[in-house]
Symmetry: C2
Subunit: 206 residues, 2 copies
Amino acid sequence: MKSLNLVGAFFCANFERYQEMKLPQYIQSYFGISDTDVNKVVELFEETTLNKGDYYVKAGHYCNQLSFIQEGFIRVWSETPTKEITQWISTPGYFITDLSSLIFKTTARWNLQALTDCKLYTIKQERYNQINHLVDNWDELEKLFIAKCFLTLEDRVFSQISMTAEERYQQLFELNPGLFNQVPLQYLASMLGMSPETFSRIRAKS
Amino acid sequence: MKSLNLVGAFFCANFERYQEMKLPQYIQSYFGISDTDVNKVVELFEETTLNKGDYYVKAGHYCNQLSFIQEGFIRVWSETPTKEITQWISTPGYFITDLSSLIFKTTARWNLQALTDCKLYTIKQERYNQINHLVDNWDELEKLFIAKCFLTLEDRVFSQISMTAEERYQQLFELNPGLFNQVPLQYLASMLGMSPETFSRIRAKS
DNA sequence: TTTATTTCTTGATATATGTCAAGAGGAACC
DNA sequence: GGTTCCTCTTGACATATATCAAGAAATAAA
């Protein structure tokens, strides 16, 4: 959950220090490719928007796009027989997609739904698949990117099996204080694996 | 936690149905490359062993190898100020390494320690880095492999935030019943995020 | 603004899970 | 075979967290 993060059968990356950056700067700084290559990639994206409540993708459908969040919040969630679980909330600076659907052509594992109006940069699947013809070494860079995402998720498992609810709350607050006044807290509670009431009580103490 | 699994700042893959397979069959079936390519890759591995209690790598050191477990069990764990957390137990059919150390040249995040005497097929880092010159498309195949690992880990986060201790116990038992009579149960408890006593009580009920 | 919804808080209580401690069983070692 | 060590179990109890319910606060809608 440090610099880069990815969660929710989708992947995303977020450097705190890059929150103000736009797509080209982001791609350049993360993948470390030349300006020429950055431009080739950026041209494949187009600006799109999502209104509050809209779904980026619904579980069980196909997800044939990947986006970068410029503004807004997107909640990644899934149903269980008894409740709805929020897996993660993606914030500006993150990439979002349903990774399984995008690269393995399965149906989407998650619901991705806009918590607020969102501005996105979006790339369609066909174009996404062209990148490795345009940029030398792209497969390796992408491998490294996903590996980083893997490591981040691994940390999250570790937090979940080793820390108390209060410690997890504090950790999230340190890593992402902005979330706490921009999205419904019940979703933060869910993604930390605790009830909204427990979350509220921890918050009152802090 | 279905077919393929990876945990612990290391990655691993395990198809139940392949448990009896050896390295060449495994590589061929997972990466789907030609027999010629499989042989090129397999030649880079050498057989090694690890005695019970030995470390494959210690946290804080560098891990410059990747292995496939032919026989034995390897525990992936890490210290916290108050306790020792088992992140995962790798079984025959899994690849093991400290992924961060292997591909980002960081120090290892995890301790990997043999729970039993182990037979491994091991590839050194320099040789591992040669594979993409030997096998066409290797970077992409590796990307897909790591992505699968990512999805598996994502499921694990979901289990951890959405299920009770008993449900997690049952899920692990269904997916990997063999573990329950081959390794100390306290480690299974830890990797499921519960105390050994809770684990024991759930077990007594089942 | 006023109203209607949604979200958050708080108390009372139930339940799940952790901790401590003692002992039992089993495996390893001598 | 006996000892030692490690692991597992079990009971008693403590604590963390969940659940239910009511109301307050905030937000969105009219």
